[in-house]
């Protein structure tokens, strides 16, 4: 059995969790295992269709007071209880902010190894093999886990969703037997960034600006592009962030975030090695830069040599036209 931890925030299941479920199902089919989805909290209700659609055989919903707000300590405790009971071969979750916080705590509690932030999973001679970027994407590590259950987090936006399947399985509600009583770091409040609904790691299109943006005020051009393109987010290079033009949560690259959107649009980004490390996994890359020698053009599918300030206004019009058709 592969147990998949399903994450939801504000009552919505995360797409990255569905991606994990879909990949778990592909692997489970190859191995003759089944996939069980586990959720913690009470808000779920009508969204089970998506879980059945991506291949869950069973859904386990852990309910109890104070579980709607995430806490690594509590969630670890209840997942550990479930794992001790079900004895799954593997436990997967998304390498989201929550997954990256929860999975290593769970691994520490279970005293098992963890494959973090995997970008490819395979079955080799009947065993799971995990592939993940190391050295900020400058090398790929292939590994096996010697401890059970095999714990892994899967990078968002990499694994495709499956064609939704019909059919429903069993929903099992679990009430908490032994409430967690240890020390907890509790979330008191979630502070949203103004206008930023999507994080660069979750966006399907990243519109990124570099030193060529020349100043904080010009990032509004990129925000305008994002307003036109669905599921997009503004990214930035390290030099733009270090110049104080935009917050570091937008930074793509080695000391920022690694992204792999369907489309990466880079404006005035030179393409320093540490930036490329964070975005060269994007499916399609289009770069606009004044300098024909800019290293970003070495990874761009389409490179446009020109002045971004002259290109963005007509580009907005063209995109508007194209997307309204």
């Amino acid at each position: 059995m592969i147990l998949v931890f399903i994450e939801y925030r504000e009552g919505k299941i995360k797409k990255s969790s569905l991606e994990v479920l879909a990949e778990a199902k592909r692997l489970a089919d190859e191995l003759g295992w089944e996939v069980v989805a586990a959720l913690i909290g009470s808000e779920l209700q009508e969204q089970t269709a998506a879980l059945w659609g991506q291949g869950a055989k069973k859904i386990i919903q852990i309910k109890g007071d104070g579980l709607d707000q995430y806490s690594a300590e509590k969630y670890t405790h209840y997942l550990e209880e479930l794992i001790q009971e079900l004895r799954p071969e593997a436990v997967f979750m998304a390498a989201s902010a929550m997954g990256r916080d929860l999975a290593p705590r769970l691994a520490g509690k279970l005293k098992v190894a963890l494959a973090s932030d995997c970008t490819q999973l395979k079955v080799l001679n009947g065993e799971l093999v995990f592939i993940r970027p190391v050295y900020a994407g400058k090398a790929l590590l292939t590994l096996k886990l010697k401890t059970r259950p095999q714990l892994a987090t899967l990078r968002p936006n990499i694994f495709p969703l499956s064609e939704p399947q019909s059919g429903e399985g069993e929903v099992i509600e679990r009430r908490i037997a032994n409430p967690y009583s240890g020390p907890v770091a509790g979330v008191e409040e979630i502070i949203r960034e103004e206008g930023a609904e999507l994080d660069v790691t979750e966006a399907e299109v990243v519109v990124s600006g570099g030193r060529g943006m020349k100043g904080a005020e010009n990032f509004s051009l990129l925000r305008e592009l994002c307003a036109i393109i669905p599921r997009s987010a503004v990214g930035a290079s390290r030099s733009a962030v270090d110049s104080g033009w935009i917050g570091h949560q937008h930074q793509v690259g080695q000391t920022g975030k690694t992204v792999c959107p369907n489309l990466y649009l880079a404006f005035g980004v030179s393409g320093a090695i540490q930036h490329l490390a964070g975005m060269s996994g994007s499916k399609v890359i289009v770069a606009v830069n004044k300098d024909p020698e800019a290293p970003i053009f070495k990874v761009a599918d389409l490179g446009v040599v020109g002045d971004l300030f002259q290109i963005i206004p007509p580009l907005k019009e063209e995109l508007r036209k194209a997307l309204s058709e």
Partner: protein, 260 residues
Amino acid sequence: MNILVLVKRVPDTESKIRVAPDNRGIVEEGLNFIISPYDEFAVEEALRLREAKGGKVTVISVGREEALLILRKCLAMGADEALLVKDNNPETFDGLRTARAIASLVEQKFPDFDLLLFGKQSFGSDNAQVPAMVAALLGVPQVNVVVKLTIEGREGVAYREIEGAQEKVVFSLPAVISAQKGLNEPRYETLKGIMAAKRKEIPMIPIEELGLKAEDLAPAVEILGLEPPPTKSAGRLVQLPPEEAAKEIVRFLREEAKVL
């Protein structure tokens, strides 16, 4: 406050990484090694907390003797003590093994610690595992990817970065915190600090002497191979008047790349 900061020696983030011929690790020759960038934010935060509240900052690394260099850098920045858990193994990419060593060391030598500070992940293994694993092994609360931290008495407030937002998290000491860029601006070493750090003795404890069982010291991760990533080849480069360029981008996205 009794603050411990865990730091790791890693290749300079700007360096070109070459995979070793045995496909198990990287070629270290010619690489410049530094303290992992996120760890530097952790050291700085520890120093600021000590300056505000008093107490002691001890920096700890697990690794080969070469890691003494980054420990000396931390001493030069202002840390009070340093300690090396000597581990001659090459990179295992196994966070659990490192976490076990750290948890065991803390239990034996620093049972009265208040705060354990880490970088949110080390450059290299990029696991982002050890802080939360250590917190679990020690049974203390954790806040990872922290961009703002305040501590009053035994209570702390940390802001942690999540997708498009920050979580305000409250916790009690002792706790594990991992640092994200934005937490602070690390200071440079002073000349006086560098001179003092040179003379400071740094105790070393072999990883084998932490009371861990042999099976706990054996990596739980089996490396099957390390490879360079597939290279992406350059596409087309065009130079057109702005309106034409805009049209070409949209045409490319719709017709060739099919992403619109």
